[in-house]
């Protein structure tokens, strides 16, 4: 059988002012019909650049320096854009990482799907609509009629990614390139989307090149895997073989970085938790009002958090888990008084947060946000961002004292004190999250709310941030409220777990009783969504 895609000795160069960067240095890949090949690596390893090179979508500053890319025997390197267009869509389909930005916000789903159908299948307008409808059914969208009329912003992240898959699958490509298709999605939706891609590929014998950084995803979907590091493929082979006996130490690191369900972090148990509650929520609810006069929409009330009671004990790590939209982030903000509550009481260390002084509360009660890229002010140096609250809340007596504390905080999170006079954009994603953590711990708080602190990061970066958090907890005597959507991480880190769904807390249990038979179905659903990096199924291509 001839391969659908053959990449030989591919070199891609980026011309930067004053230097040329070799993003890909001699990559060899082969994808057969009906096969799923996973290309794995950290961000910056060159895996997305390889995919972009196949489609001829490299940025202007990049060029293919050497090598060949053959699609069903046709050489793609050196073809004009016009010739390449005959392969894009019809021959090679693409699913992008972020369905928010890859769908056109000003057109309805129906018109975007319809246009693609008319272009590639050469059907009439009404037929195109039927084709679009059928495809939405196929990708598991139940209210296809409503979705066809909807604009992208009206759909959830999972729905949008389903639409992207319909858009890519509709023209019947022989090769589907999926660039981190589930990184922006929560664990439950991730599994649904991966299964969908697998199902479609199986039905139509489409070859799939799946790009990911997560070995959990690899083991769930692919038959073969290629591991990429710094532009070079360091290891390739069948998924089962690579997972069982990885040859390259880098592969080993990537596999180990995936948290496995039931495998506790060895240091997570070191700290002992007392019984005194530090944070107590008693039947709190909050509502948001959407629409109303002047917005052109009907006024509607969304109950984001419904009647939640919860207590976090001093010294423990409490994990709060749920799908996106379940209200867990709102609950966290509500606990710190960042969003107003409609009813209920929140007490911190015995005092109602509404009564205790704002300064006192803020100093002892801190947040680390999900995306450090947006949670840091882009126009202010990180040192100043850490120092400001210290001065404001009276933690530092003068500028010199504040600077000393900033340096100490940066060292605690594994950064260099010399980084203090830099701007956030000069850091990598993982480093930015370290800055976010430094900003919170510089105040020496007692309770730290971690709102999905690692979900914007690579698996290997995630592991190092989690290590850091455990170190800091032991060193500074912290209590954590850890919010996440990946049960494996929560179970590995936390002492007790609370599961949220549609604004309600469905159950709370000690981490050790995760597998107990009386667990709620919602907890089981989250458990099923975890993708462990073990070869559960043998997907060898025949």
């Amino acid at each position: 059988m001839t391969a659908v895609l053959t990449v030989r000795d591919l070199h891609v160069e980026f011309a930067l002012p004053g230097a040329a960067v070799n993003a890909v240095r001699g990559a060899d890949l082969e994808v057969d019909r009906g096969e799923v090949l996973a290309l794995v690596g950290e961000s910056g390893s060159g895996k997305s650049v390889t995919a972009a090179a196949v489609l001829g979508l490299l940025p202007r500053t990049a060029r293919i320096a050497r090598g060949s890319i053959r699609f069903e025997g046709t050489e793609l390197v050196g073809l004009t854009d016009r010739r390449l267009n005959t392969f894009r869509g019809a021959g090679i389909g693409m699913i992008f990482q972020n369905p928010v930005t890859s769908l056109d916000p000003s057109f309805t789903i129906g018109s975007q799907l319809g246009d693609t159908a008319r272009l590639h299948l050469r059907v009439s307008r009404t037929q195109a609509r039927d084709v679009a409808h059928t495809w939405l059914d196929r990708v598991g969208i139940r209210e296809a009629d409503r979705v066809l009329r909807a604009y992208p912003h009206e759909l959830s992240g999972g729905m949008r990614q389903r639409v992207m898959i319909a858009l890519a699958g509709l023209s019947g490509p022989r090769l589907l390139i999926a660039d981190e298709p589930t990184t922006a999605l929560d664990a439950v939706v991730q599994k649904q989307i991966l299964d969908l891609v697998l199902g479609l590929a199986g039905e139509t014998k489409t070859a799939v090149l799946l790009i990911t950084h997560d070995f959990g995803v690899v083991s769930h979907t692919s038959s073969r895997v290629a591991v990429m590091r710094e532009g070079v493929i360091v290891e390739a082979g069948s998924t089962a073989q690579v997972l069982d006996a990885p040859q390259h130490p880098y592969t080993r690191t990537l596999i180990d970085a995936v948290p496995e369900i039931g495998r506790r972090y060895p240091r997570a148990d070191r700290a002992s938790s007392g019984d005194t509650p530090i944070l107590e929520l008693r039947s709190v609810s909050t509502e948001f009002v959407a629409g109303g006069v002047g917005t052109g929409r009907h006024r509607s009330v969304v109950r984001a958090v419904r009647d939640v009671s919860l207590s976090v004990r001093r010294g423990e790590t409490f994990g709060l888990i749920g799908e996106s939209g379940s209200g867990k982030s709102t609950l966290a903000r509500l606990a710190g008084g960042l969003v107003p509550r409609t009813s209920g009481t929140v007490t911190f260390d015995g005092a109602d947060i509404a009564d205790s002084g704002a300064h006192e509360l803020r100093r002892r009660f801190q947040y680390v946000f999900q995306d450090a890229t947006t949670a840091l002010n882009p126009r202010i140096t990180v040192g100043e961002q850490i120092a400001r609250p210290l001065r404001r809340l009276g933690k530092a007596t003068d500028r010199g004292d504040a600077t000393a504390q900033v340096h100490r905080a940066l060292e605690l999170v594994g950064l260099h004190p010399g980084h203090a006079d830099r701007y956030p954009r000069e850091f990598s994603g993982g480093q930015r999250q370290r800055v976010g953590i430094a900003r919170a711990i510089a105040l020496e708080p007692e309770l730290l709310i971690l709102d999905e602190p690692t979900s914007a990061l690579d698996v290997s970066t995630q592991a190092s941030i989690l290590d850091l958090l455990l170190d800091l907890k032991a060193e500074l005597d912290l209590t954590y409220l850890f919010i996440g959507h990946n049960l494996a991480i929560i179970a590995a880190l936390c002492d007790r777990i609370g599961v949220m769904r549609e604004g309600s807390l469905v159950e709370t249990f000690p981490a050790g009783e995760l597998f107990a038979p009386q667990r709620h179905p919602d907890t089981r659903a989250l458990l099923d969504a975890v993708l462990p990096p073990v070869p559960t199924r043998d997907r060898e291509a025949s």
Binding site: R362, Q366, Y367, D371, R379, I380, G414, S428, R439, S464
Partner: protein, 287 residues
């Protein structure tokens, strides 16, 4: 931990602001032109070869290159070169001062509207809409009727005309910034609303405000010249580019194009320079 960075701090990824500025040809050229023009205006009494208001009835409308008058003379026999050198003083001071005031007021109003409650914000922005709808020439005429025509009329008119634009731009940008996570983070770190607006959001708006303000100066040099040409601005006999164009226009058809053209070229050059600087700054400040 793979991302440990103990040891020497790694090299900076970006060039410093002055280095980027000098590398940006547009911004640099704009700045050079402005420095030259502003320098010339400031040193006008020493640079100008003759008194700009000294007429010579025996030597009216001398051609370009006439002895003693490099750019010729106007219909009253005044030296055009001296008048061009002097004529920028009023226009530049008026345009820069009034745009600075307008940017200050507009930024304050825009931020207030973006962070205030629904009612205050709605009221403010509707007032701004009214200002948009008001004919600017009518403002200039009313001002000229109340106070003597002169520099203050120009300043008042430009401020009135520019404030709504600046307010709109700052309002729109501040609304976007307000929803960003760093504002919530600042709140969780104990910052008051006033501190958030002043120390967190404002630094993120400065670059757009500076860029917009720079282009506004260019536009308003032209605008104040038109008002002066209509007789509402700088009064004769003082030299002013706008005034010179309107006076020169009378003799344009009789074959003396120099009298109106040289001040026109000066206005064009300064307006262009301000726009280059604005465009260049945008590239330098927002890479």
């Amino acid at each position: 931990m793979s991302t440990d960075t103990h040891g020497a701090a790694p090299p900076r990824l970006r060039r410093s602001f002055p280095a980027r500025f000098v590398r940006n040809r547009e911004a640099f050229l704009g700045l050079v032109v402005l420095v030259v023009v502003i320098g010339m205006s400031a040193l006008a009494p020493w640079l100008a070869p003759q008194d700009p208001n000294l007429g010579d009835a025996r030597n009216v409308l001398a051609p370009v290159g006439a002895p003693g008058h490099l750019l010729g003379t106007d219909d009253q026999g005044r030296d055009v070169l001296s008048r061009v050198i002097h004529g920028g003083r009023g226009a530049l001071v008026v345009a820069i001062a009034s745009v600075t005031v307008a940017v200050g007021i507009g930024t304050a109003l825009g931020l207030l509207a973006a962070f205030a409650g629904r009612r205050t914000s709605g009221l403010l922005m509707r007032v701004v809409d009214l200002m948009f709808a008001f004919p600017v020439i009518l403002v200039a005429l009313s001002l000229a009727a109340i106070i003597q025509p002169g520099a203050w009329v120009l300043i008042g008119t430009v401020v009135f005309a520019a404030v709504p634009y600046v307010t709109r731009i700052v309002f729109a940008e501040a609304r976007i910034e307000r929803e960003k996570d760093y504002v919530e983070a600042a709140r969780s770190l104990g910052a008051s609303e006033a501190a958030i607006v002043r120390t967190e959001v404002l630094p993120n708006l400065i670059s757009s405000v500076v860029i917009y303000g720079t282009s506004l100066v260019g536009v308003n040099i032209v605008f104040t010249a038109s008002l002066s040409a209509l007789g509402l601005g700088i009064q004769p006999p003082d030299a002013d580019w706008g005034r010179m164009i309107s006076e020169g226009a009378k003799v344009l058809v009789t074959g003396h194009p120099g009298v109106a053209s040289f001040p026109a070229v000066a206005i064009l050059l300064v307006a262009l320079a301000f726009n280059w600087l604005g465009d260049g700054l945008r590239d330098v400040l927002n890479p």
